[in-house]
C-alpha cells in the first residue's frame, strides 16, 4: 500500500527557486526631487543576474519556515561545550535597539554620542573589576580577534624591550584559534603536553620555557573544564624566563565572581561577551572579544581609547605605542550594550551565582553519567565535563552516533571531538541556565542511548531519525563542493 502515515514533508526551496519576475518585497521611498542622469555605461551594470524577486509575504514565510528547521537555545538544552550557551535576556535586545543607540553613526561628533561613550566606559570599568585586569579594549569583534590583539600587544611589549621573541607556547588541549592567532602575529607555536590530570605538564613547560618564548597562552579552566591549579607556578616559570602569560578567558563563566585572572599572574587576556556575558550567539555571531591587560601592557592598547575630559567622554588616539586598530570603528558596540546591561542586571552576587550554578550543573551531569560513559580525566570539573565514547566502542558506536541520536530526543548535542587530546570527546557544558528538569531529561536521554548502543547499534549509526533531514554526508559535500545556487540548465528547446 502506498499510503504513509507520515507523508514526506515538502523541502523548503531556495529563495532563488521561489523567485518570479516583477515582484519586490519593499519599495524605495517616494522621491520628489530630480532623477539623476544615468552614469556612463562603462561604470554601471545590467540587472543583477539571478537575484531573487519575491513579495514580502514570501520572504517572511520562507525564513519563518527555515527558522523552524533550527533548534533554539530558548527551546531546550544546548550543552555545546566551550560555547557557554546561556540564556540571552530579552531586555538586552530591547536596550540595544533603542533608537538612540541603534541609529548612532560611528562618526558622530562626540557631543552627540555621550550615551554610547558612557556605555563603553562603564563596560571597560566593569570588566576590569571582574577580571582584576588594569585596562580593557572593547575593539576585538570576537574571541579570536581578541587573541590576536593580545598577542600583538605582547609582541609590541617585547619589541619595546628590544626583541619580539619567536615562540608562543600553547597547551595541546587549547582551542584552535590560539595557535592560529599566534601564527598571524608572526610567531611559531610550540605545544605543551598535558599531564595525567589534563593540566599543563609543568616539567614540559619548564623545559620549553626558553628566552625566545614570548608568551604562554593558557586556558583556565582548560578545555577539559579543569582548573589549572598550578597557575601561580606556571606564571612564575614563564615570567622568570621573561615571557608573558596570556589567558584565553573563554571559560570565565566557570569562576566569574569567585576568582580573578588578574590576581593569578595573568598579563593579558580576552573574554568573550557572547559567552560569559550572554550576548546572543546569533547562529554564529556577532560576538565580541574585549582584551584586558595589566598596566605594563596598557600603552600598547588599540586606539582610540575612550577617556574622560572634564564633564565629557572623548575619544583619544594619543597613545604613541598603540598597536593601532583592529576594528573599522570601536568594536561591536551592540554587544557592548548588551553585556553592560547583563552585568548591571546581575551585580556582584548575580555573577557569582552564575559561576556556582554553572559548576553545580556540570558536576551533577558528571555524577550521573560517569560510569555509563567513560570519564577520561578524573580531575575535579568546573563548568563543563568531558566524557568519551570508550565504553561504547565494543558496540561499534561512536561519539558522532551519540550526538546524532540526542537530536531524536529533542536535545542539542554537546561539542564533539574536542578537545583533541580526548579520543571521541563529548564536551558537555550545561551553563547556569539549565534547571533540574532539563538536566535530568538530558541524563535520561544519554542513559537510554547507552542502552540503545547495546540493543540496536545499527539504529544509532543511522541516527537522527526525526530531523528535517537525516545524517548528511559531509565528506561527499567537501569532495565536490557546491557553494552556491546556480540556475538550472534548461534542456535546449528542439
Amino acid at each position: 500500500m502506498s499510503v504513509q502515515k507520515n507523508p514526506p514533508r515538502r523541502r523548503e526551496g531556495l529563495l532563488f527557486e521561489k523567485s518570479a519576475p516583477g515582484k519586490r518585497g519593499c519599495e524605495v521611498p517616494a522621491w520628489d526631487g530630480p532623477v539623476a542622469d544615468a552614469l556612463d555605461a562603462r561604470w554601471t551594470r545590467d540587472e543583477i543576474e539571478g537575484f531573487p524577486e519575491l513579495s514580502e509575504r514570501e520572504v517572511v514565510r520562507h525564513f519563518t519556515r527555515l527558522s523552524r528547521l533550527n533548534y533554539a537555545n530558548d527551546e531546550g538544552f544546548y550543552p555545546l561545550g566551550s560555547c557557554t550557551m546561556k540564556y540571552n535576556p530579552k531586555v538586552n535586545e530591547k536596550i540595544a535597539r533603542l533608537d538612540g543607540f541603534a541609529e548612532a553613526h560611528p562618526l558622530m561628533p562626540e557631543g552627540a554620542v555621550q550615551g554610547c561613550l558612557q556605555v563603553m566606559a562603564d563596560l571597560e570599568r566593569y570588566l576590569c573589576e571582574i577580571t582584576g585586569m588594569d585596562a580593557f579594549t572593547l575593539q576585538p569583534a570576537a574571541g579570536a580577534q581578541g587573541e590576536f590583539t593580545g598577542i600583538k600587544m605582547v609582541r609590541a611589549y617585547h619589541q619595546a624591550h628590544g626583541n619580539p621573541r619567536q615562540i608562543v607556547l600553547i597547551p595541546d588541549s587549547a582551542h584552535g584559534t590560539n595557535p592560529a592567532s599566534a601564527h598571524l602575529c608572526g610567531y611559531r607555536v610550540e605545544e605543551i603536553t598535558s599531564d595525567e590530570r589534563g593540566c599543563v605538564h609543568l616539567g614540559d613547560l619548564k623545559e620549553r620555557m626558553r628566552e625566545d618564548v614570548a608568551v604562554l597562552m593558557l586556558t583556565n579552566p582548560n578545555t577539559l573544564g579543569v582548573f589549572e591549579r598550578e597557575i601561580g607556578e606556571i606564571c612564575r616559570v614563564v615570567h622568570a624566563g621573561g615571557g608573558l602569560v596570556y589567558l584565553d578567558g573563554a571559560n570565565l563563566n566557570a569562576f566569574v565572581g569567585v576568582a580573578r585572572p588578574g590576581d593569578m599572574g595573568v598579563d593579558v587576556m580576552h573574554t568573550n561577551l557572547h559567552k560569559t556575558f550572554s550576548t546572543p550567539h546569533g547562529g554564529g555571531g556577532p560576538g565580541s572579544g574585549p582584551v584586558g591587560v595589566k598596566e605594563p601592557l596598557s600603552r600598547f592598547l588599540p586606539v582610540p581609547r575612550v577617556v574622560r575630559h572634564e564633564s565629557h567622554w572623548k575619544w583619544s588616539s594619543d597613545l604613541p605605542h598603540s598597536i593601532g586598530k583592529v576594528h573599522g570603528f570601536y568594536g561591536n558596540f551592540g554587544m557592548h550594550v548588551r553585556a553592560a546591561a547583563y552585568i548591571l542586571a546581575n551585580g556582584a552576587e548575580g555573577l557569582r551565582e552564575i559561576a556556582e550554578t554553572a559548576v553545580l550543573n556540570a558536576n551533577y551531569l558528571r555524577k550521573r553519567l560517569e560510569g555509563t560513559y567513560h570519564l577520561p580525566y578524573a580531575s575535579a570539573s568546573l563548568h563543563e565535563v568531558i566524557l568519551s565514547d570508550r565504553n561504547l566502542e565494543k558496540f561499534g558506536v561512536r561519539t558522532l552516533d551519540v550526538a546524532k541520536r540526542l537530536m531524536d530526543y529533542g536535545i542539542h548535542p554537546p561539542t564533539i571531538y574536542f578537545p583533541l587530546i580526548v579520543k571521541g570527546a563529548l564536551m558537555i557544558e550545561p551553563t547556569e541556565s539549565e534547571g533540574i528538569e532539563d538536566l535530568d531529561a538530558f541524563v535520561d536521554a544519554m542513559l537510554r542511548i547507552a542502552k540503545e548502543a547495546e540493543e540496536d547499534p545499527e539504529m544509532l549509526r543511522k541516527a537522527p531519525h526525526t530531523t528535517p533531514v537525516g545524517r548528511l554526508d559531509e565528506a561527499a559535500a567537501a569532495r565536490k563542493p557546491v557553494l552556491r545556487w546556480t540556475p538550472p540548465v534548461r534542456p535546449e528547446v528542439s
Binding site: 520572504v59 555621550q114 550615551g115 580577534q145 584552535g176 558596540f333 559535500a477
Partner: protein, 448 residues
Amino acid sequence: MRYIPSGPAERKKLLLALGLEHAEQLFDSIPETYRLKQPLDLPPPHSEADLMAYFRGLSRNNLDPHDSAVFLGGGAYRHFIPAVVDHLISRAEFYSSYTPYQPEFSQGTLQSIFEFQTLICQLTGLDVANASLYDGASALAEGILLAHRVKRRRKVVVAGWVHPDYLRVARTLTETLGIEIVEVGAGGGGVVEPEAAARALSGDSAALVLQQPNFLGRVEDAEALCRAAHKAGALGLVVVNEAVSLGMLKAPGSAGADVALGEAQSFGIPLSYGGPYLGFMAVRSEFVRELPGRLVGQAKDSEGRIGYVLTLATREQHIRRERATSNICTNQGLCMLAATLFMATLGKQGMRELAQQNRSRAEYAKAVLSRTPGCRVPYSGPSFNEFVLRLPKDAAKVHRSLLDKQIVAGLPLSEYFPDRTQDLLICVTETNSRAQIDRFAQEMGRAL
C-alpha cells in the same frame, strides 16, 4: 537571579546529589589564595525596569535620530531597514542558536548562509563567497593575507582613496607577517590614475587594492586598475564599503577583480555606533581553498534529501590550527542573516532602484549645496552617494555650528587628513528627505 532557573530549593537538591554542603566547595580546585574574599565592586543588581530606565536615559543622551538631519557616511550608512528583517532575526531559532556544527538541527541557519553566499556572488560577479567576516576593515586584511598566500609576494599596492581606517586595521593585522602596504595617491580628480598605479606595481606585488566607490565617493576605473594588477601578476582586490552601490555600479567581478570584499552594513544592519557590522569576501573559484572563514555547501542524506553543511573545514583553525587560512571562529552570523533578509526583500528591482535613488538624492544635494556662495564640489567626476564639498572657511567650525541646528553636516575631512581643513565628506541616502537637504543648504548658507 531571574535568569537562572534553579532557585534555592533546586540548588539544595543538586548540592545534596553531589554530597556537598555549600556552593563554595564546588571551587575547591581553585587554590584558596585566588578566591575572592569579598564581593566584586559593581553596581547593585538592577531590576529590569531600572535597567531599562538607565539605558533609555543613556540612549537619550545621544542626538535624537528622528529630530535631526544626518549626512554622515564614511564607511557606515544609514539606510531604511524593512521591518521583516528585525522580526525574523529576532526569532529565537536564529538568534539564540550558534554556529551550525550539527547540520540536522541547523538547516535554517545553513540554508540562509547558502543563500547569502549566492547573493554575494551575484552581487559581486564572483564565484564563491564565505559566510561573513568581522567587518569591512578586517575583510581587507584577510584579502591581503589571501593574496599573500596565493602569490607568495610581500608587497601590496593601495591605489587612491581607500578608507583610512581600513588601511590602519589592515596594517595592524598583516604587518608582522612582513607584508608591506604601499599607497599610491590619487590624482586631481579624486581618483587614482591607472598609470600611477601601474608604476607602483612590481614583481613583488601580491595585490592591488582599490575601493569602489572610493573614500571620497568617486567612482574609480576599476577595470583599468585590475588590468594593471594582472599585468604585474598581482591580484585585483576591490573593496566596497557602501554595498548599496553594487545595485548600480559594475560588479567587481565584471571589472576584473579577483577578490571583492568589504562591508555590507548597508544591508539591513543598524548603525549601532560602529558595530556589529558585516565583513564579506568573494573570490574567483580557483582561490576557494584559500578563503578565510566559514563556508556552507550542499549535501545529501542517505535518502537523497538535500541539506546544507559547513564544508571545507580543513581551511579552518579548529582543524588546521596554526596553518589555517585565518584565525576567525565566531563570525557575524546574525548580521549575515539580516543582510540576506534585506537583499531578499528588496530583490532585483529594489536593489537597483535603491542605488539609483541614493545617487539621485546625492546629486540633488550636490547641486543645491554647490549653489551656496563660496562652496564647491572639487571632484566633478562620477560619484555615488557621497561627495566632497569644499567650503570657503574652516569646515570643522561650520560643522559645529550646524550641529546646533540639528544638522550633522557630513564628516570634516580634517578628522582623517589634518591638512584638509575646508572639506566636508557628505553622504546622502534615501533616508534624507528633500526638505532635509534644502534645509541643510539653507543653514549652510547662513553659517558661512
